[in-house]
């Protein structure tokens, strides 16, 4: 992709934006109507195919389009609310879906009319996701699905779910899995809030009892669910720290402010620990910046695998320190009420909340133990453990 090629494409996209804005004045057009028109104009995700919200254009062009539309005061599709749909379901539907599936699902997904969630993890299959046991049994043109899923964000708001289920327990664990789209309004789907140690319920448990899924809602071939899921999961890993954050951005800034404003809390031991944490936070910030430069330079950036691991440890150490620093205030909590937050907000609440919530950082989205395995094997090239799980799924100890 040369610079001049992108310039030509950019001109074309700007024309389309102008046309869209001319036909649908954001100030007077209904939000949803505008978003639908934007999708139909191919300006939703420009790298998607024409007819599916895109222009088959280079991905970088999206920034140009977004900037133009933002400047014109156009509404966006609230991407934080529909992150699982945008980040995980859409690329999978695009890669593995039939034409019918793509036409049915992508437009309301992008506009946010239909929220998506992800039914992958199970109580018995966390780090070892491929060991999942939710069963799907063929019944005519349908599949009948029974099982329990867990750690599901947005399940209570979702219309659709991407779902992994086991269609053949006789095969080794990676081979007997099939990938489905599950209607969250179907009979037999029950969503229960899953309360965490913070008192909140960010996530849900989802119980599936004889849920009928038409075979037309299968994504990819029967038994190829693990391959399909890899597309989904590759899109999950967010480049934490890729963006440049300012010095003292994040939790360390909160603690540093407290330190500066509250001399009565200071002791030499706490000072030594605070400066050490400050140094680690700043080192991690620079590491993120360096990683960003590596990625921009087209480098392999294996450092990315470590950022989440380091971030989790740092967040836990800083928040643990903060509770100690606060002394008497550290004995208190802001609110134990069962809430259902849409997003995680580390800065808006008290030290006790930060301390407890940060414990999840080393578990959700890949435990620190799994990340260390990945670094050891994929980055350092150390040998794998002897395998104990290559036989048929049904015979695995659990």
């Amino acid at each position: 992709m040369t610079h001049s090629a992108l310039s030509g494409e950019a001109e074309g996209a700007r024309d389309r934006v102008r046309d869209l804005l001319a036909a649908h004045d954001p100030r007077t057009t209904d939000r949803l109507e505008f978003l639908r028109a934007r999708f139909d104009a191919g300006l939703a995700w420009v790298h998607y195919p024409v007819g599916l919200g895109g222009l088959a254009a280079p991905r970088e062009l999206q920034r140009v389009v977004d900037a133009e539309l933002e400047e014109a005061g156009a509404p966006d599709n609230d991407p934080r609310r529909i992150g699982i749909g945008l980040g995980m379901a859409a690329p999978t539907v695009l890669t593995y879906g039939t034409d019918e599936q793509k036409n049915r699902f992508l437009r309301p997904l992008w506009t946010g009319e239909e929220v998506w969630c992800q039914l992958f993890s199970e109580p018995g299959a966390g780090s070892d996701l491929a060991a999942l046991g939710t069963r799907a049994v063929r019944d005519g043109d349908d599949w009948i699905v029974t099982g329990q899923k867990v750690w599901t964000s947005s399940a209570h708001a979702a219309r659709w779910a991407i779902l992994l289920a086991r269609t053949d327990p006789e095969l080794p664990k990676h081979q007997g899995i099939t990938y489905f789209v599950c209607d969250m309004t179907a009979p037999g789907v029950e969503v229960r809030p899953l309360r965490q140690i913070t008192g909140e319920a960010e996530f849900n448990e989802v119980f599936l009892t004889d849920v009928r899924i038409p075979d037309a809602h299968r994504l990819g071939e029967v038994g190829e669910g693990w391959k399909v899921a890899r597309t989904t999961l590759m899109n999950e890993r967010v480049a934490i720290g890729g963006a440049a954050i300012p010095r003292e951005g994040g939790m360390i800034g909160i603690v540093a402010s407290t330190w500066r404003q509250r001399p009565e809390l200071r002791t030499p031991e706490l000072h030594a620990r605070l400066v050490e944490l400050w140094a680690r936070a700043e080192a991690l910030r620079l590491t993120g910046m360096r990683l960003g430069q590596q990625l921009a330079a087209g480098g392999p950036g294996p450092e990315g695998s470590g950022m989440k691991l380091a971030f989790a440890k740092l967040a836990q150490d800083i928040s643990g320190f903060e509770v100690e620093l606060m002394a008497e205030e550290g004995l208190r909590y802001d609110d134990w009420t069962l809430r259902r937050p849409d997003i995680v907000d580390f800065t808006g609440r008290g030290p006790g909340y930060r301390y407890l919530r940060a414990k999840g950082n080393s578990i959700e989205g890949g435990t620190s133990e799994i990340l260390r395995n990945i670094i050891a094997e994929r980055v350092l090239g150390l040998p794998t453990e002897p395998r104990s799980d290559s036989g048929p799924w049904k015979d695995l100890p659990r």
């Binding site: 018995g124 060991a131 867990v150 030499p268 008497e328 909590y333 959700e364 435990t367 620190s368």
Partner: protein, 368 residues
């Protein structure tokens, strides 16, 4: 110096554990977290009936005539179960203060008919200046004390008053306001106490009042170490059990060497911490060593250990350990608050450095 558990102590432990296992399962503790009642009254009566509330109170004062060693064993068990009972506030802090004053009031605490609380912030470390935020005028007390442990359950408040003096105040006296705080550890709640022209009874004054409060804080910190050993022991046991049962990748996760080594290290830290906690209890009970050193050492080691053990428990339980229904967070919150209670490990280490003649005065201090 006996650092082991005696047979009598092991018998006591069995009795207390049996009661806690039956009447204080994790599900009950979790159900209690959001209840308005700050503690489990029926469990308190059961502990009273075992004589567990007055173990180190002499028989002539209505107690069992045992020693702080036995009380420490009860705290280990209460730490294991994170039982929501006002033991620290009543049977340790208030009882020790009253004992030091030779007050008759101690008998009703030892029998469990009265719950007491020592009106100092829970973060007060042994060796702190006498905490006198309450003053007296014409025999009436006025002032405010924040973050008093177990005050919400107490009918008798033992109140340090500037002078210095120590007063006994009935919680239902005129002018007393006890405001429950939303506590990080809801199994050990704190409350803010206000007195406005409240009548009280002097139980000690002058040096004796100061010594009584110091004694309570020192004993409290020293025995808290035993509770922390109990928390860590329970976390380690539960985690070991879980990693033996939990299979991922076709193996019990406890067969993975990284997990094995972490738990081995944790076990070793527990072994060492237990020695310091026993040493503190023994030393407080018998004076066989310097109790100030013993308590500072035990708190340095045990407070950190309990937090580490609870954090490892949450992590190694994976997702399930992050849920409200699983008891791991009870230990985590109890341990984290314990780190702040009666002096942080950092404060105790600073004290320790002073006591063992490792001074901190630094010639170059000025330049930083």
């Amino acid at each position: 110096m006996n650092l082991l558990y005696t047979e009598i102590e092991e018998d006591l432990r069995s009795s207390v554990r049996a009661v806690l296992t039956d009447h204080c399962p994790p599900s009950a503790v979790i159900a209690s977290l959001e209840s308005a009642a700050p503690y489990d009254a029926s469990l308190w009566e059961l502990l009273a009936s075992l004589g567990a509330l007055g173990l180190h109170v002499p028989e002539e004062h209505g107690g069992q005539g045992a020693s702080l060693r036995e009380t420490a064993v009860v705290l280990e068990e209460l730490g294991r179960s994170t039982a929501p009972v006002p033991f620290l506030g009543s049977a340790v802090l208030a009882t020790t203060a009253l004992l030091a004053c030779e007050s008759d009031l101690v008998a009703s605490l030892a029998s469990g008919t009265t719950v007491g609380a020592l009106a100092v912030p829970l973060t007060t470390a042994p060796g702190s200046p006498f905490p006198a935020t309450v003053s007296e005028e014409d025999g009436l007390l006025t002032g405010r004390v924040t973050s008093v442990v177990d005050a919400g359950a107490a009918s008798l408040l033992v109140v340090p008053v500037s002078g210095p003096a120590l007063y006994a105040v009935r919680a239902d006296s005129p002018g007393v306001t006890v405001t429950e705080v939303v506590s990080l550890d809801m199994t050990r709640r704190i409350a803010d106490v206000s007195l406005a022209s409240t009548p009280g009874v002097v139980i000690a004054s002058g040096d004796r009042a100061v010594a009584a409060v110091e004694s309570a804080l020192l004993v409290g910190a020293g025995l808290l170490a035993s509770e922390q050993v109990g928390i860590a022991e329970a976390c380690l046991e539960q985690t070991v059990r879980y990693v033996k049962e939990r299979h991922q990748f076709g193996r019990a996760i406890g067969s993975f060497q990284a997990i094995k080594h972490r738990l081995a290290d944790l076990w070793l830290e527990l072994v060492c911490a237990r020695a310091t906690a026993r040493h503190a209890a023994e030393t407080l009970a018998t004076g066989s060593d310097n109790p100030d050193i013993a308590v500072a050492l035990a708190q340095s080691e045990c407070a950190e250990l309990a937090v580490r053990a609870a954090e490892e428990a949450v992590q190694l339980h994976g997702g399930i350990g992050m849920t409200w229904e699983h008891p791991a967070h009870l230990s985590l919150k109890r341990a984290k608050v314990g780190q702040l209670a009666l002096g942080t490990p950092g404060e105790h280490r600073r004290t320790l450095g002073r006591l063992v003649h490792l001074p901190m005065d630094i010639p170059s201090m000025g330049q930083t």
